[in-house]
Symmetry: C2
Subunit: 389 residues, 2 copies
């Protein structure tokens, strides 16, 4: 049995994210070894025994690989160079860090997918500079206009637009990206042969030409409520941040935003009229400080920009800064300035910096990676570097 | 010369707010004594000598009192029971406290008016439960709808709507209040004989029937740019908080919001579409944490509610709470919980409570008045009360 078939087997046999499977992989168990363990009902696979009870005897991995192949697609696994390793490591590493309450509330499903079924371009390249744009299915004229405006501005700077392929805001986001000659990814909640909703079949075929449609479910799997929620996690995990354009109370788009928060990504919401209920969910998240208010593509780009990148305001000097601290963007500097040598929690930093907890955590984790901040349990402090900045 | 004539003389002779005049009054100098000092050019009146240089010889106090009388109005002074003593003491006391950066930036004009020229009902009664609603003159259909919605909800709970009588949002606020049988105040930037803008003459006459139009300028004074800015301070000072409904960049309405902030009032902004520039100023204030995002009249009422009042959610038990701490509203409790025994700055409290600095300061000052918090320089701490709550 090939490794690819082993991954395909796991995809059907262990549906959706599975903490035990990820733990085994993280502990160095090989995928083929795990598959053998499941098939032979060995006790070391632990919870996977129960999770695979109903399906472990039916191996249709070759049929699934044939099916994706007929669709012009492929199976992408952690073995492949195309696997978005960094994005997943950052997202699910953050969720596991216990750094935010929100991450704790979503953590049961907060593990990486084991595989991605893909039609279209190279996923890793597509998501390297990407943002998730989601919203209500019941879109208004305003929601449509706002989505178009933001997506045009983002695509104009080569950002890939990731969304859920649903009716409403999602469709406007995908279509606008394509209309502007940009790249877009549909994250599906079902097998790629399903084309849900079916009226979007044409859209999905166009998306594949310049972007991708992907799913963690093998061909044949039907859309279902729990899969939409799991899909939302994946849409948030793939990108640097999530923008909700229009969402009333209880909109599914807010679930994607919660995931972005829980995965340490930048959570953003677009305000809108108060005279209709369409933006109530966005306003609620802004009001409670769980999402940054954003009104333009420039602002989104600025929030998502990384150290060393050319800033929206053209701060070219950053590229030539003599040390890391001097190269920090404005928001990064606000976070850095909020720290002291005794250590602060992410909540304290957010309060002092005047940013959302989610964005502060995102920046803190990044500053740790760059070596100017250290994490000590639940606290962060500046790296001792007397006189250097 | 009667006291009333002395006040009227000062109103024309010392235009606009004057720190030196307020200092003399605060130090116990009588109004008639001050007028004599000015007329006789006595050195103890200090800066007032220069401020009154051009006008001190022309006493037209009787003509001004006759003029306001012909308009069916009156002069209201600090001697009168109608003077809004509490509102001004809170506002200008806060500005003088140096508690916020914003207050420092506006403090040159941040002193009470010396008099109010009034047509209409009792000012003190009108402002006892009042909110300032302002916005752009270039209103959109959205701005009109949003203003109507909010004002209807506020007037339905007997809140007086204070605004500037200008074209646009101001006019919609006044008109909606009247249409709903509510009370409204126009704060004018010119003498009450001027009716600026003249197209609002009919509106002002209606306002007087159930509310008031007032100005700190005597009859005959024309509207001018600096008077609009000074007027904005007065509109913010009279009420518990200011809501900006629609304001692009550099809208004068934002100046009123800055005043609300600087005077320790609750600063609020209404979000709107991002597809037009009409709400850019509101979004900017929300984003920077300088204004609370509000989307409904209920929310505004909740932010402005005082301890002991029946809460929007019907928390009747507050009225019967066994002690002050147990009677705190939700936002008050957030502020109280953010405090410790060592003392926190208003900024720290705002960060920990997840509220704007402006609202936190407003609540802190109120809690000090109620005896559960003490102020110690720039810091606030809980009153020591071991085991009582």
């Amino acid at each position: 049995m090939s490794r690819t078939r082993a991954w395909a087997y796991l995809s059907r046999c262990v549906e959706g994210p599975n903490r035990q499977l990820q733990a085994l992989l993280a502990n160095g168990r090989d995928v083929e070894e795990i598959v053998q363990g499941i098939k032979r009902r060995e006790t070391w696979v632990g919870d996977l025994l129960r999770a695979t009870e109903a399906r472990y005897q039916f191996d249709q991995s070759q049929q699934d690989l044939d099916a994706i192949s007929r669709l012009g697609g492929r199976l992408v696994t952690p073995d492949d160079a195309e696997w978005p390793t960094n994005e997943f490591a950052q997202a699910f590493g953050f969720a596991a860090s216990g750094l935010s309450d929100c991450a704790r509330s979503v953590q049961d499903d907060a593990v990486a997918p084991h595989v991605l079924w893909v039609r279209g371009k190279n996923v890793r390249e597509l998501v390297a500079r990407s943002v998730t744009v989601v919203g209500t299915r019941a879109l208004s004229t305003y929601g449509r206009d706002a989505t178009r405006m933001l997506v045009q501005g983002l695509v104009g700077h080569q950002w890939t637009i990731v969304s859920g392929g649903a009716l409403g805001i999602d469709a406007v986001a995908h279509n606008t990206a394509l209309d502007c000659g940009g790249r877009t990814i549909v994250v599906a909640a079902c097998g790629l042969d399903r084309n849900y909703p079916s009226s979007h079949t044409g859209l999905f075929d166009k998306v594949v030409q310049r972007g991708a449609i992907l799913s963690e479910y093998p061909p044949g799997v039907t859309p279902a409520r729990h899969r939409f929620l799991t899909r939302n996690r994946l849409a948030a995990a793939l990108t640097a941040g999530t923008v909700v354009v229009e969402a009333a109370w209880r909109s599914g788009a807010l679930n994607t935003l919660t995931w972005a928060e829980g995965l340490g990504k930048v959570a953003m919401a677009v305000p809108g009229p108060i005279s209709t209920p369409g933006s109530l969910g966005c306003h609620d998240r802004i009001r409670s400080g769980r999402a940054q208010l954003v009104v333009s593509a420039n602002e989104i780009r600025q929030l998502l920009s990384r150290v060393g990148e050319i800033d929206v305001d053209g701060q070219y000097e950053m590229l030539f800064a003599p040390n890391t601290v001097q190269s920090l963007s404005r928001n990064e500097m606000r976070v850095f300035d909020a720290l002291n040598r005794e250590g602060c929690t992410a909540d304290e930093v957010a309060g002092a910096a005047g940013l959302t907890v989610s964005l502060s955590v995102h920046i803190l984790v990044d500053l740790v990676k760059r070596g100017v901040v250290v994490r000590d349990g639940g606290k962060f402090k500046r790296v001792e570097n007397e006189g250097k900045y």
